[in-house]
C-alpha cells in the first residue's frame, strides 16, 4: 500500500500540470468555439519570456510574473481574438483549426527571431521555493513548485467553474459559444464577451507556462507540447465541455503514468514503448468512444445560415492567348531548371533543389488528403517517415534495393494511413485533426525513438550502393536530381489523373455535401480510405527519396512538429493545386537556404516557419492559399494589360 502511495503521490502534481492545460483548452473551446492548438505555444512563450526576464535581465520573479502573465498574455489573447478569430465565421471550422495550427507553428519559431537563440535554464519559482520540501504525504516529499502547481490548479478550477456557472459573464460566454448572433439579439455585446474569454484563456496559458517552467531544467517547447497531448486527452474525455471532468481525467493520467513508471521494469519494452505513448493511447481511446467528439464540428447555431459561405477561390478566366503564354512560360522555366541542374548549378543549390523536389512529393500527399479529400491530416510527415525507415531497414537488413524498398515503404505508409482512416471513420474536422496528431505523436514518441528502427539520434546511414543494380546511380553526379524529378513527375501524374477521374469527382461531391454524396450512392467510407491510402503512399515515396538524398534517415527529419508545419506550408502555398505543393516544397527549402546568408537570429530556419505561419493565418480569407491567390490576381492584371487593353 505504501509503495503504491509512493507512486501515486508524485503523480498528482504532474496530473495537475496536465489539468491546468486541459482546463485552459476546455475553457477556450467553451467560451469561444475555438480549439486552441496554440495553448501550449502560448504557455511556452510565457515561460520563455519569464525565464529570459529573470535569468538574462535579472528581473525579480514577481515582476517577470506580472509582465508575462498579467500584461503579455492578455494582450496576446486580445490580439488573437481581434486580429484573427473574430474575423472567422463561426461556421468555418477548417479556418479555425488552420489558424490555431499556424500559431502552434509560428509562436515558438518567432521567439528566437525576437529574442535571439537563448539557452534558458533553471527558471525560478514564483510562489513557493522549489528547493524546499513543504510537506510529506505517505512519506513522499512535496516541494515548493509542486505545491504551487497543485494549489493553483485547484484555485483556477474553482474560480473558472464559478465564473462559468455563477456569473452573468459566464452565462453570456456559454451562450455566445452556442450562437453569438442570438446573444447579440438579446442585447449582449458578444464580441466583447468572446474577447474577455480569450483574455482569460491566455492568462491561464501564461500562468500555466510560468508555473511549470521551474519543473523543467530548461525551457523547451517540446515539454509544453508533450503536456498538451495529455491535456488534449483529458479535455477529450470531457468532450471539451466539462472543466471538472477534464481536470479529474488529467490528474488521473498523471497518476497512472507515475504508477506505470513505478511498476514497469525499466528494462522491459513496455517501459520504453508503452509508457511514453500513454497519453496518446488515452487520447485515441477518447476519440473512439466519446460520442461528443464526433459532433464537434456540427453546427449548433440556429442562425448559422446567416454566415456567408467561405469565400470562393479567386479564379481567373484566362484568355486562350494568356493560357498559351503561361503554359509556354512554365515549359521554358522547367526546361531551364532541368538544364541548369544538369550543367552549371552549384552543388549546394543542387542539393537544395533536390530536397525541394522530395518535399514537393510529400506535400502532394497533403494536396490529396486535405485539398482533394477535405480531410485535415497532421500525420503526413510521419507517413513519410514510415516509408523512409522501411526502405532503409529493408536495405540494411535484407539488402533490398532502396528503390524497391521505397515502394514497399510506400505500401506500408499507405497501410498505416488506412488504419488511421479506419480509426477516424466517424470523425470529421477537429476530431480527425486530433486523431492524426495523436498518431504523429505516437510514432514520434514510441516508434521512431526505438533504436532498432531509427538507430537513435545517429540515424540510419545509407550506402548508395543500395540503389544498385542501377549502375548509372552515382550520388556524385545528377542521379539524385533525376530520381527526385522522375518520382515527383509520376506523383503529379497520379494526382492529376485522380483529380480528373471519378474518384476526384466523388471527392469534390463529398467536400460539398456528405449527405448529398451518400444520398446519390457514393460510398463515403471507401472514398475516404482510398484517399488516405493514396496520400500515405505518396508521403512514403517522398520520404524515401529525401532519405536517399540525405544518405541518412533519422527521427528528427519526420517529427510531428514538421508534420504540422507541412500542413501550414501547403495551406500557404495552395492546398488544392499541384502547383501549390511544388511551390511549397521548393519555397520551403530555398527560403531556408537563402536565410543562411543572413546573420544572427535571422539566419536560422525559424523565420521560414514564421513566414509560412503568417501566410496560413490568411486561410479564412484565401482558402486557396495566399500564394495561389496572389498568382491569380497577378495573372488577371497581366491579362488585362497585355491582351485586353492591347
Amino acid at each position: 500500500m505504501e509503495q503504491l502511495a509512493g507512486f501515486v503521490i508524485p503523480g498528482i502534481p504532474f496530473g495537475c500540470t496536465y489539468a491546468l492545460f486541459a482546463v485552459g483548452l476546455v475553457l477556450t473551446y467553451q467560451a469561444t468555439g475555438v480549439f486552441n492548438f496554440a495553448f501550449g505555444a502560448q504557455a511556452y512563450a510565457a515561460a520563455f519570456v519569464y525565464t529570459w526576464a529573470t535569468q538574462v535581465h535579472h528581473l525579480p520573479a514577481w515582476m517577470a510574473f506580472v509582465l508575462t502573465v498579467l500584461v503579455m498574455s492578455p494582450l496576446l489573447g486580445l490580439l488573437f481574438d481581434r486580429a484573427l478569430f473574430s474575423r472567422i465565421p463561426a461556421t468555418n471550422n477548417m479556418a479555425k483549426i488552420v489558424t490555431g495550427l499556424s500559431l502552434f507553428v509560428g509562436i515558438p519559431a518567432l521567439l528566437p527571431v525576437i529574442f535571439g537563440n537563448q539557452n534558458l535554464l533553471n527558471a525560478p519559482s514564483v510562489f513557493w521555493n522549489i528547493d524546499r520540501v513543504y510537506l510529506r504525504i505517505f512519506g513522499t516529499p512535496i516541494n515548493g513548485a509542486q505545491v504551487t502547481v497543485m494549489v493553483v490548479t485547484v484555485v483556477v478550477l474553482v474560480a473558472l467553474v464559478a465564473l462559468l456557472r455563477a456569473t452573468e459573464l459566464g452565462l453570456q460566454m456559454r451562450a455566445a459559444t452556442e450562437s453569438r448572433r442570438l446573444v447579440q439579439l438579446d442585447g449582449v455585446n458578444a464580441g466583447q464577451v468572446v474577447a474577455v474569454a480569450w483574455v482569460v484563456s491566455s492568462v491561464l496559458a501564461g500562468l500555466a507556462g510560468v508555473l511549470l517552467a521551474p519543473l523543467f531544467a530548461q525551457v523547451q517547447v517540446q515539454d509544453y507540447t508533450t503536456l498538451m497531448v495529455a491535456a488534449i486527452a483529458a479535455a477529450g474525455w470531457a468532450a471539451l465541455r466539462s472543466l471538472p471532468v477534464a481536470a479529474g481525467v488529467a490528474v488521473l493520467v498523471g497518476v497512472a503514468e507515475a504508477v506505470l513508471q513505478g511498476y514497469l521494469p525499466t528494462s522491459s519494452w513496455l517501459y520504453s514503448a508503452v509508457l511514453p505513448s500513454f497519453p496518446f493511447i488515452v487520447l485515441t481511446v477518447a476519440l473512439l468512444v466519446v460520442p461528443g467528439l464526433r459532433v464537434l464540428d456540427s453546427e449548433r447555431d440556429p442562425l448559422a445560415s446567416v454566415d456567408p459561405p467561405p469565400p470562393p477561390p479567386l479564379r481567373t478566366v484566362r484568355l486562350p492567348a494568356m493560357d498559351r503564354t503561361i503554359r509556354w512560360g512554365w515549359y521554358i522555366l522547367l526546361g531551364a531548371f532541368v538544364i541548369s541542374m544538369l550543367t552549371w548549378m552549384p552543388r549546394t543549390w543542387e542539393n537544395v533543389f533536390n530536397s525541394g523536389l522530395a518535399f514537393s512529393t510529400v506535400f502532394l500527399s497533403v494536396t490529396l488528403i486535405t485539398g482533394m479529400g477535405g480531410q485535415l491530416s497532421l500525420a503526413q510527415g510521419t507517413l513519410a517517415g514510415v516509408g523512409a525507415f522501411t526502405a532503409a531497414q529493408l536495405a540494411r537488413h535484407l539488402g533490398f534495393n532502396l528503390l524497391i524498398g521505397g515502394l514497399i515503404g510506400a505500401g506500408l505508409a499507405a497501410t498505416v494511413a488506412v488504419v488511421l482512416g479506419i480509426l477516424s471513420l466517424r470523425l470529421r474536422g477537429l476530431g480527425l485533426a486530433l486523431m492524426t496528431l495523436a498518431a504523429a505523436l505516437f510514432f514520434d514518441n514510441t516508434v521512431f525513438n526505438q533504436s532498432s528502427i531509427t538507430n537513435g539520434t545517429t540515424g540510419l546511414s545509407l550506402d548508395q550502393k543500395w540503389v544498385a543494380p542501377f549502375g548509372f546511380f552515382n550520388p556524385n553526379g545528377h542521379a539524385l536530381f533525376l530520381l527526385a524529378l522522375v518520382v515527383l513527375a509520376l506523383c503529379v501524374l497520379v494526382v492529376n489523373l485522380v483529380r480528373q477521374g471519378t474518384v476526384g469527382r466523388f471527392l469534390a461531391a463529398m467536400r460539398g455535401s456528405e449527405a448529398g454524396a451518400a444520398g446519390i450512392g457514393i460510398n463515403l467510407t471507401r472514398q475516404r480510405l482510398t484517399i488516405f491510402a493514396l496520400s500515405g503512399a505518396l508521403a512514403g515515396l517522398g520520404g524515401t527519396v529525401f532519405t536517399i538524398q540525405q544518405q541518412v534517415g533519422n527521427a528528427q527529419q519526420w517529427s510531428y512538429e514538421l508534420s504540422v508545419a507541412f500542413v501550414v506550408i501547403v495551406v500557404t502555398s495552395g492546398v488544392s493545386t499541384v502547383e501549390g505543393a511544388i511551390q511549397g516544397g521548393i519555397g520551403f527549402v530555398v527560403s531556408q537556404q537563402l536565410l543562411t546568408y543572413l546573420p544572427g537570429r535571422f539566419g536560422g530556419s525559424s523565420l521560414v516557419f514564421v513566414g509560412f505561419a503568417f501566410g496560413a493565418l490568411t486561410y479564412a480569407a484565401h482558402p486557396e492559399g495566399v500564394v495561389e491567390y496572389q498568382k491569380a490576381r497577378a495573372t488577371l492584371r497581366w491579362q488585362q494589360r497585355i491582351f485586353e487593353h492591347g
Binding site: G521, N523, L524
Partner: protein, 270 residues
Amino acid sequence: MAEAPADLDMDRTASRSSEALLTVRGLRKTFGGVEAVAGVDMSIRAGETVGLVGPNGAGKTTLFNCICGQVRPGSGTIVFDGVPLDRMPVYRRARLGIGRTYQRIELFPELSVRDHLLVAERARSGHGRLWKDLLNRARPQPDELSRVEAALQLVGLSDLADTSVAALGLGTCRVVELARALVAEPRLLLADEPSSGLDVHETRQLADILRTVQRRRGMAVLLVEHDLAMVERVADRAIAMDLGQVIAEGPLKTVMAEGRVRHAYLGTDR
C-alpha cells in the same frame, strides 16, 4: 428557374402496380426523450405519388431519413421491393433505387450542373474504381453522357448544363437536385419540401416538372410538402402525420377534412 417541359398526357395510374414497393412497419425513432417517429405503418405502391403532410415536428423528415438510412430507427422494419433495408448503408439504398431531394439544398458547389448528374450516374453504377482513374479510363462514356443529357432535357436544364451550381438561384438548385436524383433512375423518389423557399410561380413550375418526370419514368414519389396546393397538384393520395404517428390516409381532400388532421394543424376539429 428552368421552364417545365411539355406535359405528357398519360394516365396517372398507368404505371402503377398493386404491389407495395415500400413497406414500413412499426417504425420508431427517439431523440433523447422525444419520440419523433412513433410506430409508423405505411406502404407505397410502384408508380404512385403520395403526399406526406403534417405540421412542423410531425416526424416527416425523420421518417424520410430512416427510409434513406441517414438515421437509424430504434425499431421497426422497412422493406423496399422485397429487400429488408435494416442496417443497409445510405449509398446501397441509393443504388437499390431510392433517390431523394433535401429540404436544405445539398448540392456540390464546386461542380457544374452536368457534373452533378455525371457523378450521380457513376455513383449509381458503382464505377468509382481508382485503377480506372490511374489508367485514364474514367472519361465519361457516350451512354453515360446520353443518360445525363436525357435527364437534363427532362427537367429543362440543358441550357445551364455547364454552369456552376454556385451561380444558380434556389429554385434552379432544387431542379438540379431533382435531376441529380432522377439520373440514377430511382424507383422511389423521396422529395423533402421541394417548394421550400420558392415563390408561387417557381413552386408551380417545380410541381409541373415533378409530375412530368413521375409520369414519364413511372417511379413512385413520396412528397413531404407544406404547400397543400402542390400536393394536390402532384399526389395521388396523402398521408397525414402528427407527433410521429400516421393519423389519416386517403385522398388529400378527405385527409384534410379529418378531425384529427384539422386538430393537428389548427388545434381545433372545426
